[in-house]
Symmetry: C2
Subunit: 312 residues, 2 copies
């Protein structure tokens, strides 16, 4: 195992999505797919998830060609999770029309013994009880990041808080940060969430970028301006993938916060910018299509362009 | 006259505003008031506007104590312009309940001879026909900036375009940029507007900051994160005031775009950040209350804090 391997646990899905730019039916989706493909540009990935017997082998084969270990993907009798949603004028907010959990309803993330020593762990947006089960199985990770959403904040706040107490980094969107903290101001919301456990809080702001909160205060990163947003689905998860991938590739470790706070802060800020760049590619097409044809050289060009957009 | 004097033309008003934080009745408002007070931290200002006989002398006296020449303010028989509006959860958008133009309805901006040589000119959001009348009266300004809004884009597009052809800088919000250009993407919208005349376009993004577009591309500045937004009224105008004030204080000139493009771009970017800082103070209280008690030292502290929030 590489010292910068990331274990990622979450949903693998088919999405049917309608946006002002068009419609995509039964395309590859799911939080852990977006995360893994984005993170694979930076570090090796191990995926834990579940799919139905209808999930094409070609997808798994394609993932495994990208430094993504899919041996932890369970294939269960039944259909793959299927999400149906749409975006209207406001591309920051999806409307869910149907959530057919299918085999995902009984997802029980069980790690291979060989996966338990993963140094980096990303818990995508799933039931916080399952997130805890994963944490119970991993040994002593260097860094654990968590994504969650309004559904769990509303429905399983107690369990979510237990999970939060065990992670280093939380990423949520603005509305979720306010809901979780009960604070309207982003600064106060982040401060309240940091007291729940994660020393690093990322608040995703859709087309406006992301805000990072640490003991050193706030870092505000704009989204890279793209010519056309085709489908925002997966932006947050691919943001997290590049963010975590960058940290893993650079050997970030939670102890850095004390041992080398300056370096820790710089790595986190650069990781956020990498997240913004990756998300800006994701939204340029449906599903993972843009990421599938993304070259590392394009990432570099856009990273430089984003740096230019924020340089004073 | 100082080499960096700014002539500002626009509305002086009373506002009655309701926000989630409370209500303010018949308080000092109007675009040119916000602009002038903000700009006065950087450069001397000449105001051209009209008020009714109900406008308190104390207000004018207070303005004139702040390097603001109010000799161009006409006092007309009747009542001062009165705007009644409110903000609900979305603090980026005001709802107008009443617009009593009163004496402002027959505003006819006539410059004193001694004001015609003003090197910097700011045309706040008023009828584009009046904006042109002002431009007809000024001699050879170094830099002209313009603010407008959906009302004129919809109702007087032809006249607005004539005005646009004569100015260096336009500031509008996201919706207005899209409406004016017919483009959804901010990049394309700005490009289209730059072709209408202004070589510099600023797109205001409310609580998310502002985007600057020049021949060198985009600069994305976040809004400074404040603990509580009390009232967003005047944020855009005070942004423009600090922006223009900073440019005037630093001797910016439209010819710089060719003669020293690097310096021009740096000045514009720093001016945008100064605008963001000023706006962040404005929104912390109703009316001009926060700006009235703002010390230069507070500006410096927050400028440094904003730089810290965007440093990589």
């Amino acid at each position: 195992m590489s010292q910068n391997t990331i274990l990622a646990v979450g949903s693998m899905a088919f999405d049917t999505v309608q946006t002002p730019a068009g419609k995509a039916e039964q395309v590859l989706g799911g939080s852990v797919n977006y995360f893994s493909v984005a993170a694979s540009f930076f570090a090796p990935i191990r995926v834990v998830g579940v799919v139905g017997t209808d999930f094409p082998q070609a997808h798994l084969k394609w993932l495994s060609e990208k430094r993504i270990d899919v041996s932890g993907v369970q294939v269960a009798e039944g259909k793959t999770f299927h999400w149906v949603g749409s975006y209207d004028g406001n591309l920051n907010e999806a409307k869910t029309h149907a959530t057919d959990l299918n085999v995902f309803e009984h997802f029980n993330p069980k790690l291979h013994d060989s996966h338990k020593n993963s140094p980096y762990v990303f818990l995508a947006n799933i039931d916080p009880v399952l997130q805890q089960q994963v944490l119970d199985q991993v040994e002593t990770p260097r860094l654990v990041a968590l994504d969650s959403m309004n559904f769990w904040i509303q429905g399983k706040l107690g369990e979510l808080k237990k999970t939060l107490a065990r992670v280093d980094i939380l990423s949520v969107n603005e509305g979720e940060a306010r809901q979780l903290s009960g604070e309207k101001s982003l600064i106060r919301a982040a401060e309240a969430i940091r007291k729940m456990g994660p020393s690093v809080v990322i608040i995703k702001r859709g087309e406006y970028g992301a805000a990072l909160f640490t003991s050193r205060g706030a870092f505000l990163a704009p989204a890279f301006l793209v010519e056309q947003v085709v489908d925002p689905t997966g932006a947050g998860d691919s943001f997290a993938g590049a963010f975590m991938g960058y940290l893993a590739a650079n050997g970030a470790h939670r102890d850095m916060a004390q041992q080398d706070p300056q370096k820790w802060e710089v790595l986190l800020r650069r990781a956020v910018l990498n997240g913004c760049v990756m998300a800006s590619f994701t939204v340029e097409d449906f599903s993972l299509h843009r990421l599938m044809r993304l070259a590392s050289s394009e990432l570099t060009v856009r990273q430089n362009a984003l740096m230019q957009m924020i340089a004073v």
